[in-house]
Symmetry: C2
């Protein structure tokens, strides 16, 4: 496995499990099996590593969430949590731990959330045949809610979000027919 890939994926695990600030560079280099000199050659700084982790996670996330239905969307979330556990949105956590003051991290967060919103807008069009901002916003909120509520409610959160999304879609469909 490529050295940079290994570094970023072990860093992602440690950051996710123990927090960003709480994870020191010694722990990172030791877990990745590389020297600190190599780490800094590759990512420049700890903030650079954090941003690289987030951008890689964003790619991975959108590879997984590639279906065209709400069932696929929340199914992907369920799979994600089953494999990696649920500890809240890593982008928001990074943003919060850095007080929103680190540009590369704030940008990675904003980019990720923009793409998520676009993904959901696409799903809405497939589900009800037309764009619907209010419905897309609701599904985004349910997705965000499930992501965080799953940390203390487990799989029930994802189930509940999927069911609520289905009901809202059903409502939007019949509303579209009657008007």
């Amino acid at each position: 496995m490529d050295i940079r890939t290994r570094l970023i994926s072990t860093a992602e695990q440690l950051f996710d499990r123990h927090g960003f600030t709480a994870t020191g560079m010694d722990r990172l280099t030791q877990a990745a099996g590389i020297s600190s000199r190599t780490l800094y050659k590759h990512v420049g700084s700890k903030n650079g590593l954090m941003a690289a982790v987030l951008n890689e996670r964003d790619r991975r996330f959108h590879r997984l969430v590639s279906g065209d239905s709400v069932d696929a969307l929340f199914g992907a979330l369920e799979t994600w949590f089953a494999e990696e556990g649920a500890r809240g949105c890593l982008f928001l956590r990074a943003w919060g731990e850095t007080g929103g003051n680190v540009q590369e991290i704030a940008e990675a967060m904003a980019r990720h959330k923009d793409r998520l919103r676009q993904r959901i807008e696409g799903i809405v069009v497939v589900e009800i045949g037309r764009p619907d901002d209010e419905l897309a916003e609701a599904i985004l909120l349910l997705f965000e809610g499930a992501t965080h509520a799953a940390t203390y409610r487990g799989g029930a959160a994802v189930d509940g979000a999927r069911r609520a999304a289905r009901r809202l879609i059903e409502g939007a469909r019949t509303q579209g027919l009657s008007s």
Copy 2:
């Protein structure tokens, strides 16, 4: 103002704005205008301070969220964000930064989320005249979603959550009439 109250409220602001781990004890004592000796006499440790902040925030939160309707619930959230800004759930953030390994913090988080769930179950009974676990779960998810999505979508997140909750309640009401 009482010295302990002042300490906890300034600590809450600093933790919320800059993150828990990133906020050092020197900064805390300086901002609160007390010596480090006094701080440790009052809260024992940094983890103790974090737990005290969370428990005080929980009290304040439930004082604000005391209405009996979804409009009151999301109205309270709107007020909260307008006054203090939206940076995600401080309980989940504390839990995440400590890797879930600090007992007093994990307990404060669990207690807060339990109370929130009970609050919402009560609102559901008032709104539709009977308990409804699925509806309560959905509103909890919308609330959690709005709390976090407000960090990057602002007030639109709270609006969207309130509207979606209203639609789900309307659906549950007519369902109750037809069955």
